[in-house]
């Protein structure tokens, strides 16, 4: 067996590192779900424990389409009509008619000029910067952008800089500072995944127009539900068609399987088609996902019912948490962080909520900044009022146990520390 050939020193070193992760409380354990994704799921946790039916408040299934019967039917039909695998990258023999069809539909939906599919949005972010920028250019990113953007920027030879989170004054300083560069690309998430706040996209676009810079938005936590018709943060801020590059995922609201895209100016997308390494050297997006995503676009284009319900759920959930006395991050997205500040407290509260039948995850350093530990709750259009009532009951019970209801940040920190 191959494992027998591992040098003992390697095992010792890796074992020590794993031990250190466990000691620091950073070891990630998967919770096995024995059901399709949905508002209520059956979870085996810890491993070997009897299945527990819990209310899911931590998935990115924003529109509740992950297991929607029409999406499943479209996936089955796609499988029958176009097969399972393509055994090729796109540019050799991996492009089917439905890949092009989905790219055209996304272009129309996102209000851009062209679109290119990737296996994931992580891949899109990993490939796009290197494909379009050179050492004559600069990337100026919000300091809270997604990790995959950071990785993509590291792979690109353009100069890197950052601006303080959503600080437009600081962004303008940076645009002026880099005025000598050939191109300046301002990079932001549309919705930031940890705090759930929205980028000030109208102001960013205005600044970029003023300084002749380009705008990049990762709209993964927005596509399908932010904006009046779910076209994302550009729609929400009235700048549809004015964002030069959008990346997004089909792994969250848009069906939740996998896949992503770069969408934007025609030349940018074409350069990605020619140069983006995750596109060139990784297999084509599976036909079954393409077929299902086309159906998702049909569903979200036909009615705003689901995004409206999601918006309402988020509003109600924010109100319920506030009325119960929890300290939450204000905002308008379906990402609602419940602030606990202390890492152990966040873990304890998440554990107790799970025991009460509510599945949430505690986040703490280094996932969030030190002293910013929290529970991130995420709403779905699949949640009903019955679900939200049940969830808030559990939150109240656990909050009472830890005496954090109605308490300010200072009071929580005073009692539990940072």
């Amino acid at each position: 067996m191959a494992t027998e050939t591992l040098p003992a020193t390697f095992r010792d070193v890796m074992g020590a590192e794993l031990g250190a992760l466990k000691a620091a409380g950073l070891f990630k354990e998967e919770r096995v779900i024995h059901a399709p994704q949905g508002a209520e799921i059956e979870v085996e946790f810890p491993a070997g424990a009897p299945l527990k039916k819990v209310l899911n408040l931590c998935s990115n299934n924003y529109l509740g389409l992950s297991s929607h019967p029409d999406v499943l039917a479209a996936a089955h039909a796609g499988l029958d009509r176009r097969g399972y695998g393509m055994s090729s990258v796109r540019f050799i023999c991996g492009t089917q008619d439905i890949h092009r069809e989905l790219e055209n539909r996304l272009t129309e939906f996102l209000g851009t000029e062209d679109t290119l599919l990737f296996s994931s949005c992580l891949d899109a972010n990993a490939g796009v910067f290197e494909a379009i920028l050179s050492d004559k250019d600069v990337m100026i990113a919000d300091r809270l952008v997604h990790a995959s953007i950071v990785d993509g920027m590291r792979l690109c030879k353009a100069a890197q800089d950052t601006f303080k989170h959503s600080d437009m004054g600081h962004l303008e300083e940076k645009l002026v500072e880099h005025a000598d560069k050939r191109f300046r690309l301002v990079i932001t998430d549309g919705v930031f995944s940890m705090d759930g706040d929205l980028a000030k996209l109208d102001e960013i676009v205005a600044l970029c127009r003023k300084h002749d810079a380009m705008v990049f938005v990762d709209d993964s936590h927005a596509s399908g539900f932010i904006g009046e018709t779910g076209r994302g943060t550009p729609e929400r801020f009235g700048v549809l068609g004015k964002v030069d590059v959008i990346t997004t995922t089909f792994g969250k609201a848009l069906g939740g399987a996998s896949g992503g895209c770069v969408s934007g100016r025609r030349e940018i997308v074409e350069l990605c088609r020619q140069r983006a390494r995750p596109y060139l050297f990784s297999n084509t997006l599976a036909s079954v996902i393409v077929a299902a995503t086309l159906k998702v676009l049909d569903l979200v284009s036909a009615t705003t019912g689901r995004r409206d319900r999601l918006e309402q759920n988020a509003r109600i959930w924010r109100r319920l948490l506030t009325e119960a006395g929890f300290d939450i991050k204000a905002g308008e997205s379906p990402i609602v962080p419940v602030m606990l500040y202390n890492a152990k407290l966040a873990q304890d509260v998440a554990r107790d909520l799970f025991a009460e039948g509510v599945y949430v995850v505690g986040f703490f350093f280094p996932v969030v900044a030190k002293g910013q530990a929290r529970i991130r709750t995420q709403l779905s259009a699949a949640h009903t009022m019955v679900h939200l009532d049940r969830a808030i009951e559990a939150f109240r019970k656990v909050g009472k146990k830890y005496d954090i209801l109605g308490k300010s940040k200072n009071e929580i920190v005073e009692r539990y520390g940072l």
Binding site: E17, A141, R143, L144, H146, A147, V150, M153, R154, Q160, D161, T162, H165, S193, M194, F363, F365, P366, V367, V368, A369, Q372, R376
Partner: protein, 101 residues
């Protein structure tokens, strides 16, 4: 294997260099030595091969700044110390803030 040779330079009486002074002195001497010394002749062939392949090759001295915290490591280079430190600060800052999937 190359033998590392060192040079001791007595400082004038009364001079009390701080760590930054010593770094500067060290860097200055290293720069002079690097500029004075010729590259290994074996590089000529490699450089010719690169040029035949269409590469325009140039080289020069750079500053290197590094930051280490437990297993985290970042380094940046630049033609000036300011640029190296600026690059380092950006790289570290990228991973300072919280992120989640």
């Amino acid at each position: 294997m190359l033998t590392r040779r060192t040079l001791e330079v007595p400082l004038p009486d009364g001079v009390r260099p701080d760590p930054a002074d010593l770094e500067l002195l060290k860097a200055t001497f290293q720069a002079i030595v690097s500029l004075r010394c010729e590259k290994d002749p074996r590089w000529e062939l490699t450089l010719k091969e690169l040029e035949d392949d269409g590469w325009k090759v140039r080289w020069g001295l750079t500053w290197r700044a590094e930051a280490k915290r437990a297993d985290d490591y970042e380094e940046a280079t630049g033609p000036t110390l300011d640029e190296a430190l600026t690059g380092l600060a950006q790289l570290v800052r990228f991973d300072m803030a919280g992120r989640a999937p």
